[in-house]
Subunit: 219 residues, 2 copies
DNA sequence: TTAATTATTTAGATTTGTCTAAATAATATT
DNA sequence: AATATTATTTAGACAAATCTAAATAATTAA
């Protein structure tokens, strides 16, 4: 099955949104891919015809077995390139995502496997996400939530979902990066803000909007 | 200037065909890119409008200064990835070209420069071709000719221009690879064949057609 | 120099992936 | 249950990159 770059991006996003095995809605996918719902409908028909997804009008989208296999290959390539960029080229966490977005579309299995070997067959990427092996097998994803929905007090930052330079610069200024440990001091419903404390720093307040884009897991 | 992958491939091929500063014809470019002359005319208009080439109806194509700069960046990326594939991932010479064709389109300058640094800022690629530096400067290309036009007797194989699996398998079977040294025993005009001798092997005969695709330099 | 050949361009169509605007279905509200 | 709202799909258009077939320009041969 030969997939275009656009098709690969759809498959990857559907995989990401599926999470358990939930049905993915047209609107959610359009938002994720930064495109319009009408475009998603068009592509859904095409991927359904190729048997990569199960799709029925108004019933949403799920990946077929074959679609899942394709998704895991793409995710494997993405995460291996992220390892390469951090381990070998000394890139920092906020720079690697968009580069890996491009590198992941080089579809050679031989290249992917050689790269994996070269990196020492890593099983987690720099964000802490598991890397599928050549057969698509991978460890259980770590229990991540966004910071605004975390219920544990002591947390560690594992990723940011929004890669905009504005957000990244903001986080940088606040001293928040991948692996940063923090505690939730208070969550104010009143003005949708969250007060957090980083080690050896005074407490600081961020909006729920920002917190939504910060992925964390209990530590 | 943001170039599409198609545009980059045109720029690269024009650069390759220009050699000195010769005008590139529509047909030659179509053949090089494995496309149709009509498509080349279409793209020529576009690249001319973007001021990357100088093009006038029926007068052929040359790269503008800006086009040359763009070409050198693409060539730089291509050759650096070829180094990476051979030096770090242990690929062999006949496998790297088509992978580098894809990797070269990841346009990040930071990635390119980090990669170069990681590889020890190499100045020639695995085929012996010079690698432009970050400013587009590079060493003079080695004096390569195709095997059928070589006048020296003792030669070393530096590249093959046709990357078809058929040719590569053929060369492999004959024991010819990158760096192989050979002598021209005879050149028969009569049946357009060339008799060559590899070290420690009996002489063998190949057609001019094949020889056209084998690049060599005197040793 | 006229005719034949070859090279190049134009015109119009096709594919992929996208869009807007309008229509329809599903869901929520009163 | 009827109405309003939201989600999704359809219809028709567009841009990029390509193609075929026909027209035109340039070159070569007679």
């Amino acid at each position: 099955m030969n997939l275009s770059i656009a098709e690969e991006n759809y498959i990857k996003s559907i995989y990401k949104l599926q999470e358990g095995d939930e049905v993915v809605t047209t609107n959610a996918l359009a938002y994720e891919l930064d495109t319009k719902p009408a475009s998603v409908t068009d592509m859904a028909k095409k991927l359904n015809a190729k048997k990569l997804i199960d799709y029925e009008k108004y019933k949403g989208i799920t990946l077929s077995a074959e679609g899942k296999k394709a998704a895991l290959q793409i995710v494997r390539r993405h995460r291996l390139w992220e390892c390469f960029l951090v381990d070998k080229l000394a890139f920092s966490w906020e720079e690697i995502h968009e580069l890996a977005e491009e590198l992941e579309h080089v579809r050679s299995e031989k290249l992917t496997n050689r790269l994996s070997e070269y990196l020492g067959n890593p099983v987690i990427d720099p964000h802490g996400d598991p890397i599928p092996d050549a057969h698509g097998k991978m460890a259980k994803p770590r229990p991540q939530t966004s910071l605004d929905q975390a219920n544990a007090k002591r947390l560690v930052v594992t990723a940011v979902t929004d890669q905009s330079t504005a957000l990244l610069a903001f986080l940088n200024a606040k001293g928040i990066k991948l692996g940063t440990q923090l505690e939730i001091v208070a969550h104010y419903e009143y003005d949708n803000s969250i007060e957090i404390k980083l080690k050896q720093l005074p407490a600081l307040t961020i909006s729920e909007q920002v917190a939504k884009n910060i992925m964390v897991r209990p530590v």
